[in-house]
Symmetry: C2
Subunit: 255 residues, 2 copies
């Protein structure tokens, strides 16, 4: 953990926080408290990086250590980190893979995670607890704490690919019309870097298909909705490896 | 599996194979046979991509299907795929993470995997079976079969970082003197892409430190041996995520 994330409620805010100007005292117990005590081994007087979910980062000074809990006196910056400029449209991988991906996607930085069905996604993948907020929210927060970000990726889950592309996609926050749309395709020869640098767009939506790829109908639908095919060379990668590699490439090209 | 890899002994070669000009019949049983039968559901007359470890790729026509084994009549290309132009110097992560990385590293494409100790690597990480060839070789092959490559990454394991850098590194095959040397550093502002594109070198050796980073001595030693610091922006990533992301960035910049 490189940053301790606080819930808005812990700093006395309701809902999202955009600025916190006061000095705020919080008591950190539970998993975070044990981590501070047993891994980071904090002592009174030390400082740790803190942040408020979807709010600003700041610094917490340890003011007390007792009963498995750590008291922090926090001050916050006046601005909130920008939302990552990449969104991910991902054909749902099998639960074991998805479970491992949550934290890694959040660490790499994604504004929105849009999970979808596809012909080559098994239907029962949607029934897993890995898709419940109780499961994925702590994993996303783990990734944010690793990467020192406060922007929790939004998550939406869609069981009908066609409906998603035709009706839902433009309604998802921040996706309306604008932005570069890319679809990973092992056959494509255009690279991510080329299109991202050329486009000059503020945001990129990256679509990654299932193991075995999108079928012809799905590919046509993506193309009809403005997605351009990008490749990563002749090597075919597993979904999870491709996901990390492509997010890194988009971020590097957009920087 | 996008390509079925054969051992040189299966095509009648001793040691590495550089070209196989004959038509060769092989019987594929075991795990590969079951995969062909139960996942790819091959039938007589169908063709599958084949390759010889460290040798050429080719095509196998299914000529028999019996008793959990598949008979393939194979022809091979006259050239062997080039060795990936990236080598990886990795501070040994914990066994569970390393176990997951083998196949992904092989899929992304690495000529040589050099594992090393560092101050922030726990000593007992070296005692795991994950570092035995019996464990990692099948995982590397799994990654190659995914990526359709035949070049098995060489693996070497070093318990003394100082000895590795001062005495062993130049003796490792293909590392002598030449090539770009990069060390991932969350603090660095120079990007992988910039240095790889500028260097014009044939090969890149990428060093990735332990969780918590190299210590000051190790960083100085890397610098003294020609490693230049590269960053990926302000987000700190876990070793495994960083490894995949950075290999993707080096490959994209070297392409």
């Amino acid at each position: 953990v490189n940053l301790v994330l606080l819930e808005p409620s812990e700093v006395g805010a309701e809902g999202a926080v955009t600025d916190v100007t006061d000095i705020i005292d919080v008591i950190i117990g539970g998993v975070r408290g044990r981590h501070l005590l047993n891994v980071l081994r904090v002592l009174p007087g030390q400082q740790v990086r803190v942040g408020v979910l979807d709010g600003p980062c700041g610094v917490g000074t340890v003011v007390s250590v007792a009963d498995g809990a750590v008291g922090l006196r926090c001050t916050f910056e006046t601005t909130t980190p920008p939302r990552p400029r990449v969104d991910l449209l991902l054909a749902l991988p099998r639960p074991k893979v998805m479970r491992r991906l949550w934290a890694q996607i959040a660490a790499l930085g994604v504004g929105q995670i849009v999970l979808t069905n596809a012909e080559r996604v098994e239907r029962n993948y949607f029934d897993t607890h890995v898709l419940t907020a109780e499961c994925y929210r702590p994993l996303l927060i783990e990734g944010l704490q690793q990467a020192q970000d406060t922007r929790l990726p939004r998550v939406s889950i869609h069981r009908q690919f066609k409906v998603l592309l035709e009706d839902n996609l433009d309604e998802l926050d921040g996706m309306a019309g604008q932005g570069l749309r890319l679809a990973a395709d092992p056959m494509a020869t255009t690279t991510v870097g080329t299109l991202v640098r050329e486009s000059g767009q503020e945001r990129t939506l990256l679509a990654i298909g299932p193991e075995g790829g999108w079928n012809a109908f799905e590919r046509a639908l993506l193309e009809a909705h403005g997605f351009r095919s990008v490749g990563m060379g002749p090597r075919t990668l597993r979904t999870d490896t491709a996901c990390i590699a492509l997010l890194a490439l988009v971020h590097a090209a957009a920087a």
